[in-house]
């Protein structure tokens, strides 16, 4: 049911904002719902990097291709690329390398047909460590870029 509603919302997005305002309640198009859809369709909203690394490996490229397909299918949606660093990076350097990772993702998404003016970049340094589930436990992950729907 929810998924149907979300899908309907996307179709409306493609049709343009003016119709939406009258025919659909706003919450259906809220960024959180779109974020959920991106995760469901692309498999994830995040690409990971090695500590100190900023190059895109094969799994990152595969993930970004899937995310780019979703973005091409939702051309009205604006995104922010949130770059993150590892907790063991020094604080200032963490901001630099997090921005560098996000910029690398942006460059790749441009090659995949995502318009540059749809993407902004944020650097979170090591201020927001992420978590992933490994088996039954949750472990912290630092170096990553999250595609965040705005």
């Amino acid at each position: 049911m929810v998924r149907k509603l979300i899908r309907a919302a996307f179709m409306l997005t493609c049709l343009g904002g003016s119709t939406l305002a009258v025919s659909q309640p706003a919450p259906m198009l809220n960024p959180a719902a779109l974020q959920v859809d991106l995760r469901a369709k692309a498999g994830s909203d995040t690409v990971f990097f090695s500590a100190q690394g900023y190059g895109l490996d094969a799994s990152a490229i595969a993930m970004l291709r899937a995310q780019a397909a979703w973005l091409r299918g939702n051309p009205a949606i604006m995104i922010r690329l949130d770059g993150h660093a590892d907790h063991s990076d020094t604080r200032d350097y963490a901001f630099g390398i997090a921005e560098r990772r996000a910029a690398g993702v942006r460059d790749f998404l441009i090659t995949q047909g995502v318009a540059p003016d749809r993407m902004s970049i944020a650097s979170w340094g090591k201020e927001r460590p992420g978590t992933i589930r490994v088996g039954t436990s949750t472990v912290g992950v630092g170096p990553r870029v999250v595609v965040t729907v705005r």
Binding site: Y54, T90, D92, F95, E99, R100, I121, E127, G130
Partner: protein
């Protein structure tokens, strides 16, 4: 004159260690033994801050605590020795203090005045030669007794070390609370002894790396307001708080020039982080570096002529020094591993840094020409060094094995690190110059 008389004492004390830093790592640092008995009061008078007798005792205890904290002095236990009488303040029973092992004696008095204020006097003596070395007198409100104590301690510290005082300085840092994935971070300023603790930012957005302006009136820091990383400057007294630049770009890692009129900071654009400097008078911004890579953590030399910074242009984070106009950029770190967060010492002699070897981070110092590198700390997650006013103490953050992060101080003269108690987790310390 008087100073010369005590000089041999000092040579056996802290200064000898400073001249031979290698020895300091193995030997316990010699210190100057000083007696700080309770101050005398001619008559015990009640004041809003307690009786003059109680204040006399509290001042002496605080002076002794300050001196001990600096790691350059060892106060003798005065509990078992009778407290000096009022006439003995200016005519001490030196044999008594020599007998306790003291090389120096600090005596003083607290006297109530008819206008409700207090006269506080302190006198520093060479216990061997029985000569007065220096004296200080203050007219204070009774509630300001701590300030008088810190100034007496500073007089002792400066007399023997030749450095600016330590005990009336302020510390800014980032207070951290909440879970790791949603930290609440606030800028705090406080006196170095922990008093006058104030939150400068409300905690609604992450804030990092506060840095004092040279006069201690402003702080520059980085803020992540609504996900937008940018440098802000806050006036400590008024709370007036504004962005350094309003262009929407990613800026961070600010640091004031010693003249207080320029701020050097990093700007990240398209995967490249460079250093820029802003003239606060004109608002003009000038780019200092353009090499591909991350150039950040800039820190001016005390004369303002040069800047230390870190860059990964060679493939890993390393330390560099350049002229303040961006010319003559030279790498100074070659010890293996990576180096970050350089801070130039106020005396110009050293650059403190974070040494990164795998997961281990430690604080070290190196000469501005890359000579005499030395690791000071033994933690596994030490970072963010900040110099004390005389260039002989380094304050830094340490994360312990339980994940708690706090502030610690180490003296170049050696000895163990000493914690600086904070009410919550604390990171990114910045130690101010002497505040008068």
């Amino acid at each position: 004159m008087n100073v010369l008389r005590l000089y041999p004492v000092i040579l056996f004390g802290a200064v000898a260690v400073l001249a031979a830093p290698a020895a300091a790592q193995t030997a316990q640092a010699p210190v100057l033994v000083v007696a700080v008995p309770p101050l005398a009061t001619p008559s015990d008078v009640e004041t809003p801050a307690g009786s003059t007798w109680a204040i006399s005792n509290q001042i002496a205890e605080l002076i002794a605590k300050d001196l001990k904290w600096s790691r350059r002095f060892l106060p003798v236990n005065v509990k078992s020795i009778r407290a000096p009488s009022y006439p003995e303040v200016t005519a001490p029973s030196f044999a008594l203090w020599r007998g306790a092992g003291a090389r120096a004696l600090l005596s003083g008095f607290v006297q109530a005045r008819s206008d409700g204020r207090l006269t506080v006097g302190c006198y520093l003596y060479d216990a061997r030669s029985e000569r007065e070395l220096t004296r200080k007198g203050f007219l204070i409100d009774p509630s300001d007794w701590r300030r008088a104590a810190h100034r007496c301690a500073d007089a002792v510290y400066s007399h023997f070390t030749g450095e600016p005082g330590l005990f009336q300085t302020r510390v800014a840092y980032t207070d951290e609370s909440g879970p790791p994935t949603a930290r609440i971070k606030r800028i705090v300023v406080r006196n170095v002894d922990g008093t006058d603790h104030k939150y400068l930012t409300p905690g609604d957005s992450p804030v990092m790396t506060p840095r004092w302006a040279p006069k201690g009136d402003r702080l520059a820091y980085s803020s992540l307001t609504a996900g937008q990383l940018h440098v802000r400057v806050i006036d400590v007294a008024s709370g007036d708080n504004r962005p350094l630049i309003e262009d929407g770009g990613i800026t961070f890692a600010p640091s004031f020039a010693p003249d207080g009129n320029r701020i050097v900071f990093s700007t990240a654009v398209a995967g490249n982080t460079d250093l820029q400097v802003m003239d606060l008078g004109s608002g003009a911004v000038r780019r200092l570096t353009s090499t591909p890579g991350i150039d950040t953590s800039a820190s001016f030399s005390p004369d303002g002529a040069r800047i230390a910074f870190e860059s990964d242009r060679s493939g890993s984070q390393q330390l560099y020094v350049m002229n303040a106009d961006g010319s003559d950029q030279r790498r100074i770190s070659f010890g293996g591993g990576a180096y970050g967060s350089p801070r130039w010492s106020p005396d110009g002699a050293h650059i403190a840094f974070t040494r990164i070897a795998g997961p281990v981070r430690r604080i070290g110092i190196i000469g501005p020409d890359g000579s005499n590198e030395r690791i000071l700390t033994t933690g596994v997650a030490d970072e963010a060094p900040s110099w004390g006013p005389g260039g002989q103490h380094v304050l830094f953050q340490r994360r312990d094995s339980t994940g708690k992060t706090g502030l610690f101080m180490i003296a170049l003269s050696g000895g163990d690190v000493r914690g600086m108690a904070t009410p919550a987790d604390a990171t990114d310390p910045s130690w101010s110059a002497l505040q008068e």
